[in-house]
């Protein structure tokens, strides 16, 4: 028995199968392509969302209020300790600077501050949190540590805004995951159904193969190859679509929404890793669909 002869036969048979039922295979390839294109778009959207979160997270600042009795040296000592605890960047805002800033923010009402006998504002430390700590849990823990430090009278970090933002991001991710699973399941079903039509058209051939001594694996192999080829073609079409989207619409979207979404939207939508993942997913969908479809025609 020649392995080469068998392999040649499988590929020839798969090519004949694709040629004999072009419409059925066109539907399967299109279905896979739409599913993979959607997955690629979801991945791109997730990246944009990450950029958005990172940029908004960058705005999150923790303000540490110090005791009014603290001298200048003590304030600078506190700055060093806070930098050590948070691993972030700390800016010292002396009481005078804080008062000036408040006067500016109050506008016309700011003149009233001149009537005060003395500056009531304490020195503050403005902490720019590193990216890995820009989430509610880490910020909460950091605030707790800072509050426990001697000389700290209060800590504020816009808790509610951070939690809301993170909840929105979590909901979006979960929603897209559910949608992806549903699309994936639907794709396998559609691919299996269309392949069953193609296999049904060749049931006579399968029957004769079985009668002359073909094993189940031998009968299945060309159909699995057909599924694999469909998956590859579907992935190719999806990648082409993503590339076209990235080149045609990406730059326009990038210009329109750069103020909100950051630079990610204009970046390449087809990266090598994504391309590999989509090709792998396409092969999986094609193989899975044909595996489901061919099983029921083997009993002769």
């Amino acid at each position: 028995m020649s392995v080469v002869a068998k392999a040649t036969y499988f590929w020839r048979s798969a090519a004949v199968g694709l040629r004999h039922s072009p419409f059925v295979h066109f539907i399967a390839v299109t279905t896979i392509a739409i599913a993979l294109f959607s997955a690629g778009m979801a991945r791109g959207a997730a990246r944009v969302l990450d950029n958005l979160l990172a940029s908004l997270g960058g705005e999150v600042e923790v303000t540490v209020y110090l005791s009014p009795e603290m001298g200048e040296d003590e304030v600078h000592g506190m700055r060093t300790r806070v930098e050590e605890v948070s691993a972030g960047q700390v800016t010292v805002v002396p009481p005078d600077a804080a008062l000036t800033r408040l006067r500016t923010e109050l506008g016309d009402l700011g003149d009233a501050l001149a009537e005060l006998p003395e500056n009531p504002l304490p020195a503050t430390l403005e902490l720019r949190v590193p990216p890995e700590k820009r989430n509610p849990a880490a910020l909460q823990a950091l605030a707790k540590d800072l509050r426990a430090m001697p000389g700290v009278s209060g800590v504020d970090y816009g808790e509610a805004a951070v939690e809301r933002l993170t909840a929105i991001a979590r909901a979006l991710r979960f929603g897209s995951l559910v949608a992806f699973v549903v699309v994936l399941g639907a794709t396998v079903i559609i691919v299996a159904a269309t392949l069953q039509l193609a296999i049904y058209a060749r049931r006579g051939e399968i029957e004769i193969q079985k009668l002359v001594g073909a094993t189940d694996r031998f009968v299945k192999a060309p159909f699995l190859l057909e599924g694999l080829l469909q998956g590859l073609m579907g992935a190719g079409v999806a990648l082409l679509g993503l590339w076209a989207f990235g080149h045609v619409l990406g730059p326009t979207l990038g210009q329109l929404f750069a103020f909100l979404l950051g630079p990610g939207v204009g970046a390449a939508w087809v990266e090598p890793r994504l391309a590999l993942e989509l090709v792998g997913a396409g092969c999986g969908l094609g193989l899975g669909g044909s595996f489901v479809a061919v099983g029921r025609f083997l009993r002769v």
């Binding site: 002869a5 004769i208 009668l211 002359v212 001594g213 189940d216 031998f218």
Partner: protein
């Protein structure tokens, strides 16, 4: 070569298709299976190439008990059995050569070697000039000869034919039966299911008669032919 020991075949809710079948077919023998429609001839043949499983009893093919054969071993058994059907079962979109080559494709025989074997087999059945034709362009007798070529191209030890001349006129019937006899002379064990009494009289081979799923007679060719003439 083929032995049946108290074999039964029944489908749930129906009377048995085969009852207490005991049969021994020697290597190189030619056996007619005869009887009216529904007597169980086709089922008996199907049991031999494992298209059906016996409900009870033992069947030995080439010394192997196929009543207990694993599903995965069935293809390997079938490679030693050629099967010819009344309705031909040819692939209409493939040429005669490709139809005959189909058996060798399954075995992974290299293309050049397969082509050589197919040409030789088509010569044996007298169709070497039709290698590139499509089955639907051939007469019924020619189509049946293609099926016989497909069944024999792998040199099986057993050839089973289920009403091989059922769709053919008398002249083509003789042509096909002569071919099967020729195959038998070359050493292949041949079992032919038929209800055509003229064939039994003409070829005078061992004849096993089934009625309502039971063997009612098992006679050598001369005796069976005499009975046909007398009856």
């Amino acid at each position: 070569m083929i032995q049946f020991f108290h074999v039964y075949k029944a489908y749930p809710g129906d009377p048995p298709v085969l009852s207490d079948i005991n049969l021994n077919v020697e290597k190189g023998e030619f056996v007619f299976l005869t009887g009216p429609s529904g007597a169980g001839k086709t089922t008996l043949l199907k049991l031999i190439f494992c298209a059906e499983k016996a409900t009870k009893g033992q069947i030995l093919v080439g010394g192997r008990n196929i009543a207990r054969i694993r599903e995965s071993a069935v293809p390997y058994l079938r490679r030693n059995i050629g099967v010819v059907f009344q309705d031909f079962k040819l692939l209409p979109h493939r040429t005669v050569e490709d139809n005959v080559s189909f058996t060798l494709d399954v075995l992974g025989v290299p293309r050049a070697e397969a082509r050589e074997k197919v040409r030789r087999m088509l010569k044996l059945v007298g169709l070497e000039h039709k290698a590139d034709s499509f089955p639907l362009r051939l007469s019924g007798g020619e189509q049946q000869r293609v099926v016989i070529a497909r069944a024999l191209v792998n040199d099986p030890t057993i050839l089973l034919a289920d009403e091989p001349t059922g769709n053919l006129d008398p002249a083509l019937t003789v042509e096909i039966m002569d071919l099967l006899t020729q195959v038998n002379v070359r050493g292949t064990t041949v079992m032919v299911a038929t209800h055509d009494a003229t064939l039994l009289a003409r070829y005078q081979k061992r004849t096993v008669r089934l009625e309502r799923g039971e063997i009612v007679s098992d006679e050598d060719g001369v005796k069976a032919a005499r009975r046909m003439v007398a009856g």
